[in-house]
Symmetry: C2
């Protein structure tokens, strides 16, 4: 049963400097440049049916897999991001670009509604024969999300109509009847899209189809076995070796370990949590809670990154969190934010918002450069200087996940219920919510995440009683709050939210102070890579040592004594103003080593000043080494 | 110009307990079990020509490469190891097995002398068309080494004759003439074998051919380019992307960085160093010295392991020495021992013997289990418990490198020259050398590597003046020596050798004391993985913490305070007696963490006793975590 609903980003005006800069960059630079990249790399061109002869072909990888097969999804994600941009400000050029794509899709769509440009253009006879590997439903899901976003931004429904016809085709194709396929996608995603379509159309069929895909997953006999045999393949030769890879190794309600490909996992849990809300499904909710505990207690990086291994783009063992080889794909953190938001609506608990904020401000934001046109796919927590941002990627999934997240970030700030409004994030927003039968203007002002001083004006169109629930972040120690100058007892914080229930009237003001002292963080001793190391955090931001701020050293040579004070230093000369953390440290000297590689004397040390930068900002200047976890002594 | 020659293993009797146990294990268990494995995996069967229909086929990897292509080399290496075993004690069964293989090869050999069972059996039309990838000369080299060893052990020359015919075919095929190929093998090895054949036959042609292969390498236009074009391939599509992979990126004399596939590099440097001796080639010698300084100063693990990366089975960047993902292939360390021995004959300098000893007692010995029938291919310096020994490997190169090394280890102990005998290693041997026109019996008694107390009896058949050069290891501090009870001035140590020149007569005795205190070792600060960590060493042995000796902890949770005393503790209950290193340490507690993964308080510590075991012995008991580099506090 749904108690809270998110306040959509189109109702939230971002006014604080931090998010304003990110949003402006995405609107002005990222979205237009991504269209150019889609064009340059032939991705838009691939929507033309019939395909040119010879067709544009990118090389297959060593599993005989071509990433071209999910190009539809990249286009769909760009439409989604671009449409979110349009919600902020309309743009004739972008709209013409989306309309042009729409016409290509209209032309490509088969009479029965089927619409996947790879299959239609290359191997129409093979559609729906390899759900395990070929991302067919995944592509449909992303294009559907794009269509919904464009409809919501502009009111134009031609693309939505096209995609709804395709979804109706899919709905006829999959289901429990004997003439239907009892299948589901190897890469979860369509479930999230179907739930959005349900929200827009209120048509229950789409909710049911999302639930069907989730419920069917992992049943025996296994669909991917049967499907492989049907196309003449040996199911045992599945390259990933285990159905854990796509979380179909058992029915979802029995799953209690976060395994396999990280993005697939997070998309699935997102859909599961939303279905648990919509259907008031206790067993689905319980599974989500168990999986949440598993990932946050044993399998997440300090930066909100997920998945240590490149081989499966995903999870390995408990506490296996290598720093320099961390995969920690941008997409996975974006998807974790989706999941966390759904969990928050299942149960308004700050533990979900804490992770949402962590993933947002660190791993996810790190995925997009300061200039809005360079990206990280992997987000390691340590680099010897070889890792840096790229302009585009053979698998561009992360690029549009970054842009669609930032273009809609306002949607993660507030939720509303019948008699309460909850603020999860801070950073300068205004919105109008419906609560207790009233329209209530909320204005939140702050210089978050640089400062925890937050001022909230509450302005109902008439006085009335309701609850204002303010998240007190898990990292915030000694927080204080006052309403109209009168202190509020912080003991009232329950599950991470300060619950202020009263009769609110025009001009009421809440002041919240979340002191942001730089602090040390230590990892569980079973995280073997981090033993003897310390990380720095201030508010929601995780920090790192980067060579650009500490020239003349490899960052791994620097050590931070346990007794050193940590100081916040505002630097207006860096990135339009950031707060750095400065401390006295030690640098291991290399000069006296000459050609020696090992010796009996420990390295000599010199005293240095260490400057730590928010992690999400690294690799925006010169190439160099970086570390989040610093040797402590 | 050759001054020193090694005293061959067949002239050296191993009498000390350490090497006696290893040698007995290899003779009694390893060599016979390797024959069974070669049989079980179809490797011996593949020598039968014509091949059965359908032929035995193992899967190709994602570069479309089958390891089956170098099965001839595995057979050759087994013959070599088995023949070394026969030199210690004749064995009718083994000899019958080698004779059987000989007959298969005789039958397979083509009229022109060509003899590669893969090509003859599968694609005779393609021979000599892909030297870059297909190990054709490499296979010839290993089989030739096997043939020479069998001839030397038994006097039977049928296999040697077969191989010599093949080498004569190769000699006709490759060379500077227009009707010859100006090629060389992608995997260096045959050069070493040809130099052995030169030693046995004294036929200068084989020396010249080895020199030709070395000199031709890396010339432009590049042979592997031309060869690829000739067979219709695009040279740019070389899977390894760079000819650094096989050290043909430039002429060998210009090479000053140790790059690419580690085993190929080491085999090549071995041949280069031996050619430099034989030909008195100053430029080749200089290249060897530069490469030696590069590898030992920046690119070698503390254990003597080489090559951090699995992708190229080789080298990456300076100081890039990750512990848990270290490749450090057993073969590479074995080959480093070959190279170090050749360097020692180029210049009797203890720095070469130090590395020889290091690689031997640590990385190389680690490759073979205590029971003689399990192996390591990779030798990481840290494991979370997932790495353990295997019974066999799809690429069994390391297995026979371990057995052929140990079965001939006596050959690394001494060298002789006209007027000197040098001892490089200790461990209980006796031998008779020719020096100063006399036969001199040398008996070295010790419990090395557990104790550094060494007693050497010198017994010439008549008194005479010559030098006894005793290696004083780089690790040995405060060494003392005496001759017939009279102390020798250790200031006389030059380049790592104590040079005792005198008139030696019957009953002369040298006593050497190399005190073995456990000691701490630190890595160069640019080895980022080892910052804040310490390793333990005693004598030639590097130690590790293994879970079997420190139960209840992951080894990465353990810390060694800088102030803790290190104690040598002899344990007769472990592996027939070993010396462990024991120290007071700290264990990071996990009990108070519950579901937390990160927190502000540093982990609590409890005091524990740490027991470190020689690295080469790890993974011979239960599975568990291990680390060489220990967090220091």
């Amino acid at each position: 049963m749904r108690i809270y609903s998110p306040v959509g980003f189109s109702r939230v005006s971002l006014e604080g400097p931090f998010w304003r800069e990110r949003l402006d960059t995405v609107l002005a630079r990222t979205v237009p440049s991504q269209h150019r990249q889609l064009e340059r790399h032939g991705i838009l061109h691939s929507l033309t049916i019939p395909q040119p002869v010879p067709p544009l072909t990118i090389p297959r990888n060593h599993h005989n897999f071509t990433m071209q097969i999910f190009w539809d999804s990249d286009v769909g994600k760009w439409i989604e991001a671009a449409s979110y941009a349009l919600s902020h400000r309309r743009d004739g050029i972008i709209e013409a670009q989306i309309d042009e794509i729409t016409e290509l899709l209209a032309k490509a769509q088969l009479p029965d509604g089927y619409l996947n440009c790879w299959y239609i253009g290359r191997e129409p006879e093979n559609r729906w024969t390899n759900l395990r590997d070929n991302h067919e439903l995944y592509c449909a899901g992303h294009m559907l999300e794009g269509a919904i976003a464009y409809f919501e931004a502009t009111g134009r429904r031609r693309l939505l109509d096209i995609m709804q016809r395709y979804v109706d085709h899919i709905d006829a194709m999959f289901g429990p009847r004997e003439d239907q396929k009892q299948g589901y996608c190897g890469h979860q995603e369509i479930e999230i899209a179907l739930l959005k379509l349900y929200r827009v159309t209120k048509n229950r069929r789409y909710l049911d189809l999302a639930a069907y895909f989730i419920d069917e997953r992992g049943k025996n006999p296994h669909y991917f076995d049967a499907e492989a045999i049907a196309r003449g393949d040996d199911p045992k030769k599945f390259w990933a070796k285990t159905y854990q890879y796509n979380q179909s190794h058992m029915p979802v309600r029995q799953q209690d370990k976060v395994v396999g490909h990280a993005v697939r996992a997070m998309y699935m849990y997102t859909a599961m949590a939303e279905l648990a809300v919509e259907l008031d499904d206790a067993s689905l909710r319980r599974a989500c809670e168990v999986l949440w505990r598993d990932v946050t207690g044993r399998r997440i990086y300090l930066t909100g990154g997920l998945g240590p291994a490149a081989t499966n783009e995903g999870f390995t063992e408990d506490y296996d969190l290598p720093n320099d080889t961390a995969y920690a794909e941008t997409c996975a953190s974006v998807a974790l934010i989706f999941w966390a938001q759904r969990m928050l609506h299942l149960d308004l608990d700050g533990k979900y918002a804490d992770i949402l904020e962590l993933a947002l401000f660190n791993n996810a934001l790190c995925g997009l450069s300061r200039d809005g046109q360079h990206y990280f796919y992997e987000n390691p927590l340590e680099s010897d200087g070889r890792h840096s941002r790229w302009e585009w990627h053979v698998c561009p999934c992360c690029t549009m996940n970054a842009s669609r997240l930032i273009a809609s970030v306002g949607g993660y700030f507030c939720s509303e219920s019948k008699d309460a409004v909850a603020l999860h994030l801070y950073g300068g927003i205004s919105t109008t919510v419906e609560v207790a039968g009233r329209k209530v203007k909320i204005k939140e002002e702050s210089n978050y995440p640089w400062s925890g001083a937050v001022r909230i004006s509450v302005d109902p169109d008439s006085p009335g009683e309701f609850a204002l629930k303010l998240r007190i972040p898990g990292w915030a120690k000694r927080a204080t709050a006052s309403v109209n100058g009168v202190a509020v007892e912080l003991a009232a914080v329950r599950n991470g939210y300060l619950d202020i229930r009263r009769v609110w009237g025009k001009g009421d003001t809440v002041v919240l102070d979340l002191p942001m002292a730089p602090e040390r963080v230590y990892a569980h001793p079973l995280v073997r890579m981090d033993v003897g190391r310390v990380a720095l955090r201030r508010g929601p931001l995780v920090y790192c040592l980067e060579e650009a701020d500490n020239p003349g050293h490899r960052m791994q040579q620097l050590r931070l004594p346990r007794a050193s004070d940590l100081r916040s230093v505002t630097r207006t000369d860096l990135f339009d103003g950031v707060v750095t953390i400065v401390a006295n440290g030690k640098a291991l000297a290399t000069a006296d080593w000459e050609d020696e590689l090992y010796r009996n004397e420990s390295p000599r040390e010199s005293t240095v000043s260490l400057t730590a930068l928010p992690y999400y900002l690294w690799s925006n200047r010169t190439k160099g080494s970086m570390t989040v976890w610093i040797a402590e002594e």
